[in-house]
Structures are given as structure tokens and as C-alpha cells.
Amino acid sequence: MTLAPARQPDKVSAPEYKEKRSSADTAFQAIVGGCSLVVLIALGGLVVLMGVGGQEAFRTFGLGFTFRDVWNPVTNDYGAWAPLFGTIVSTLIGVLIAMPLAFGTAFWLTAIAPPKIAAVVGTAVQLLAAVPSIIFGMWGFFTIVPFMARHVQPFMMHNFRHVPGISLLIHGAPFGTGLMTAGIVLAMMIAPFMTAVMRDVFGAMPGMLRESAYGLGATRWDVMWKVVVPWSRTGMIGATVLGMGRALGETMAVTFVIGNVTSVGWSLFAPRSTVASLIALQFPESPVGSLRLSSLLALGFILMLLSFASLSLARMLRKDGK
């Protein structure tokens, strides 16, 4: 190997068969290569078409479209800030709740639970990750929303109404829908997914490190906090970012529980809207070629950029970790 370093770099998985290269081989490579090209074109087309469709909105309102806080179909005046705000805040709430949940579950499953119970609970968590998003939406609408309206919001109002700062965050009539509810439902959706990734990350650590720490008399939490977490930090952040990407673009679960009002404000319990929910609701009633349709496509383009950025970040972190 060291004698011919120039010849060996790319022969890891598939040896080259130079001698027997028939025309059938060439055709085969062309076919599978063509399939790859179609995949490439699909995404390219997706990005380009969103941009082209949203062109009119960007031309009318300028790049400031992104930060304009109006969405008024009556006066035909649009800006992306309200739905963008809803998307970002609900995603942040979701990630903040989901991260400790996923970390705790992954910790319990990998280090503490007896293998048989861990297998059952692990399967349950994976099944939860497979539940379609519309089911999360319905479940949120019929269980979480009433719970928030009847218990959480009255409780918050009763106890924190006069606390400066917090009173701003909980202000509003107890509808039960809003950013907080959306964040909770999103958290329940992405937590199982993040748990699965974190379990893999924890499992990838050489067992020797864990064993030597135990050998020194460390408790299970010591091992987790001082050996496993430092070792897998980037992987864990990667898992979180992946979960964030899912929450950003989630449509169905959010549309049911966010209340769908295009406004911006401090209250976490007031109805808002997100980019995806606004597209889902308003697209069917936007005529072809209208400024409204173009604005929705421009919103889609911004969402695409956000999800693209989060995925690139996750990939970068994964590479750093290796």
C-alpha cells in the first residue's frame, strides 16, 4: 500500500474491473448515473422554482419582504416577518423542550434501563417517531389545546399576571392555541427522533472509555456527564439541529394547534401562524399569478433556505465529530 500511494485512494468499496468493461457496463453506469441526475435535478428544480415563483413578491417589496410585519390579503400587502417569527419561536420552544427529554431518554435507555425494558421502551419511542404528523396535530388539537385552555393558561394568569416580564409572555385570552401549544406538540414529535440519533451517538463511543470510568468508581451519571457527553458533544448538537430542521418545516401538526393569526407579539399563548401553516391554509385560496401566491412562494423559498442552513450545520458538526 505504501509503495504505490497514488494508486490506492478511491478503491475502498468497489474494485475497478478495467479488463472486462463491456458496453452493457457502460449502459448500466449511464442508467444509474441518470437516476442520480434526476435526484439532483429534483432538488435544484425545487429551489429554483420557489425562487422564481417568489420573484414578484421580492420585486414588489424588496428584500425587506423578509422583515415586514404585515400580511393583509385585503390591501394586497405582504411581509414574511409574522409567519417567520411564529416558525422560529415555535421551533425554539420545541427544541428547548425536546432536548432534555431526548437526552434523558437516551441516557436512561443506554445506561440504566434493564435490557428487556430498554428494548420495549426503545421500540415504543421509535414507533412514536413513526406516527404521521397529522395524527400529532389531531391529538394536540383534542388533548393539549383543551388542557392548555382550561388548566395551564388560567394557572399562569392567576399566579404570574402581576410579575413584570412574565405577564407579557402569558398575556392573552385562554384559547389554548398558540406558540406554546405548537412548541409542545413539536417537541413530542421531534424528541423520539432526537432520542434515536443520540442513542446511536452514545453507542458509537468505545466501550473501553466507559468501562475504565466505571472501574475508577464513577457512578452512572458521572460516566454520562463527564465521559459520554464530552465525547459525543458534537453528535448531540447534530441530533438537536436535525430535530430543529424537522420542526421548522412541520405543517400538519402545527396548523391544528397554532391558531393561525398572522401577528407578532410577546405572548407565547396568543394564536400565531408559521410559514408552513400559512402556506397550507392560504395557498388554496390564492389565484394563479396573484401577488399573494407569489408571496407564499417567497415564504417557501425562505423556509427552504432555513431548512437548508440547519441541515448544512448538522452535517458540518457531524464531520467535525468524526
Binding site: 478511491d10 475502498v12 468499496s13 468497489a14 472486462k20 468493461r21 449502459a27 448500466f28 453506469q29 441518470g34 437516476c35 442520480s36 441526475l37 435526484v39 429534483a42 428544480g45 425545487l46 422554482l49 420557489m50 432534555p100 427529554l101 441516557f107 436512561w108 445506561a111 440504566i112 434501563a113 421502551v121 415504543a124 419511542v125 414507533l127 413513526a130 406516527v131 404521521p132 404528523s133 397529522i134 395524527i135 389531531m138 391529538w139 383534542f142 388533548t143 423520539p192 432520542t195 470510568a213 468508581g217 457512578t219 452512572r220 463527564k226 465521559v227 464530552p230 436535525l242 421548522l248 418545516g249 412541520e250 405543517t251 400538519m252 388554496p284 423556509l303 427552504m304 431548512s307 440547519s310
Partner: protein, 290 residues
């Protein structure tokens, strides 16, 4: 590694024994609570679905097509529409995903710029918001033709299924030992024969798992169908016209103010969830056996 040494520099395993044990117990408790919450959520979802959906789930609901509120309509056309569109989506996605996965594993070494580009794009597609896929297909297959169609819905679902199939196919083919390829080549088989009849055959179970997982993912998708196949109140078998599907019907009925529609929405939700979970459990069981 440097992280580990710095953070553990202040750590002496035999100091503060009581405090460390308390922390351990607290962490164990919190971890258990976290896992418990997730299990509770799954139980709550299943319980809600069963308790609300089972009443609406009758022979009539499955056999009769949708109808106006109060007329005793069912879900039959939505169920059939979902089956048709999902099946067609897999029919489009499977060859495409297999081809792309084969290309990435057999020809896509590190030097191949095109392959790493495709791999990245496939990753992006896997995490792209599904509603954007719906918008995309609307722009290429609905707007130019001036009408919604079941075919457009299938294409949107296929775009979501392809990256899953690509990923599993590539991973599974990479697991095939090089010795197997060399043995094939030594017997005089051409490369495409080796790939298709040796590698793909020995990776069959894994590849099939990927296709099934894609099926499970796609069959519950609602957002990409909203602007493509739209939904339909009546029987329709034409791929060129709007077609009903279970998820879209659930979406339309769940927010309705008619009692029987809401009940049908729950019955539909129960059906979809059971289908998706059944596929997942089957995949897991077969993976354990294989």
C-alpha cells in the same frame, strides 16, 4: 479528547461519594421521567385514536364512499385513493432510488464530485419540508395543466420516498463484502452483473426494509397532497383528475363542524396510524430475524 481531559481534570472518583450518589439517583429519576413522558405520549395518542376512532370504524365506513354530512358517507374512496397514490409513488420512487443508491455505492467514491453532490442533495431532500415538495409539484405538474391530478400527488410522494430508498440502498450495498465482488469478477461476470445479481441480491433484505420504511413515511403524508391531488368527494380512478386520500380527508373532516365527519376523521386517523405502525413493527421484526 481534549474536552474530556479538561472537563475531567477536577474529577476525583472517590471524593464526594454521597453527593455523587445523590446526583446519580436524581439523574436516574429524571431520565426515567423523560422516557416515561415519551411512552405516555404514545399511549395517549393511541388511546385517543382508539377511543374516538373505533366508534366510527364500521363496515359502512370502510365500504361506502364519502358523502355530504348526515348522509352516512364512508371513507372507501379515500382509502382506495391513498392505496393507489402510495403504490404509484413507490412504483416511481423504487427504480429511481435503487438506481441512485447503486450509483452512489458502486461508482461514488470520494473522488467523484458528482456523487458527493448527489449524496448531499439526497440528504437535503430527506429533510426538506414536505409542504415545499407539494408546492414544487404544484408548479410543475398542476399549474401548467390547469387541474389537480392524482398523478401529481404520486410524484410529490415519490420525491419524499426517493431519498430514504437511496440512503438505505447505498448503506446496504456498502455492507456487501468486497470478497463477494471479487469472487464474481473472478468468475468472469461483468460489473453490472456483479452489482445486480450478487451485491443487490445479498443486500435484498436491507433494501426491502428501506422501501418499506419509505412506504410507512409516505402513507401518512398530508401536506404534499394538499396542492397536488387535492381530494375528491366521489369515486375516481383517473390519474388525471383529483383523487381522495385518507390523510387529506382526515384534514378536511377533523376541522368540520358536523359530528359524523369528525367521527370519520378519527376512524381514518386510526386506520392510517395502525397501517403505518404495522409496517414499522413488521420491518423491525424481520430485521431482528435477519
Amino acid at each position: 479528547m481534549s474536552d474530556m481531559t479538561t472537563s475531567s481534570s477536577g474529577w476525583a472518583p472517590n471524593a464526594n461519594g454521597a453527593r455523587r450518589r445523590r446526583m446519580d439517583r436524581l439523574a436516574t429519576l429524571l431520565g426515567m421521567v423523560a422516557a416515561g413522558i415519551l411512552v405516555l405520549v404514545l399511549t395517549s395518542i393511541l388511546w385517543t385514536l382508539l377511543s374516538r376512532g373505533i366508534t366510527g370504524l364500521s363496515a359502512a365506513a370502510i365500504m361506502k364512499p364519502m358523502g355530504p354530512p348526515g348522509s352516512g358517507g364512508g371513507l372507501a374512496n379515500a382509502i382506495l385513493g391513498s392505496l393507489i397514490q402510495t403504490f404509484l409513488a413507490l412504483l416511481i420512487a423504487t427504480p429511481l432510488g435503487l438506481g441512485c443508491g447503486i450509483y452512489l455505492s458502486e461508482y461514488g467514491n470520494r473522488q467523484n464530485r458528482f456523487a458527493s453532490c448527489v449524496r448531499f442533495v439526497s440528504d437535503v431532500l430527506m429533510s426538506v419540508p414536505s409542504i415545499l415538495v407539494g408546492l414544487f409539484v404544484y408548479q410543475i405538474l398542476v399549474a401548467p395543466f390547469g387541474h389537480f391530478s392524482a398523478f401529481a400527488g404520486s410524484v410529490a410522494l415519490a420525491i419524499l420516498a426517493v431519498p430514504i430508498i437511496v440512503r438505505t440502498t447505498e448503506d446496504m450495498l456498502r455492507l456487501v463484502p468486497i470478497a463477494m465482488r471479487e469472487a464474481g469478477a473472478a468468475l468472469g461476470a461483468t460489473r453490472w452483473r456483479v452489482t445486480l445479481f450478487l451485491c443487490l441480491r445479498s443486500a435484498k433484505t436491507g433494501v426491502l426494509t428501506g422501501i418499506l420504511l419509505a412506504l410507512a413515511r409516505v402513507s401518512g403524508e398530508t401536506a404534499p397532497l394538499l396542492f397536488t391531488s387535492l381530494g375528491n368527494q366521489n369515486w375516481s380512478f383517473s390519474l388525471n383528475r383529483p383523487m381522495a386520500s385518507l390523510p387529506v380527508t382526515i384534514y378536511q373532516y377533523a376541522g368540520a363542524s358536523y359530528e359524523d365527519w369528525v367521527q370519520l376523521a378519527w376512524a381514518g386517523a386510526l386506520l392510517v396510524t395502525m397501517g403505518v405502525l404495522a409496517i414499522n413493527i413488521a420491518v423491525r421484526l424481520s430485521a431482528r430475524r435477519g
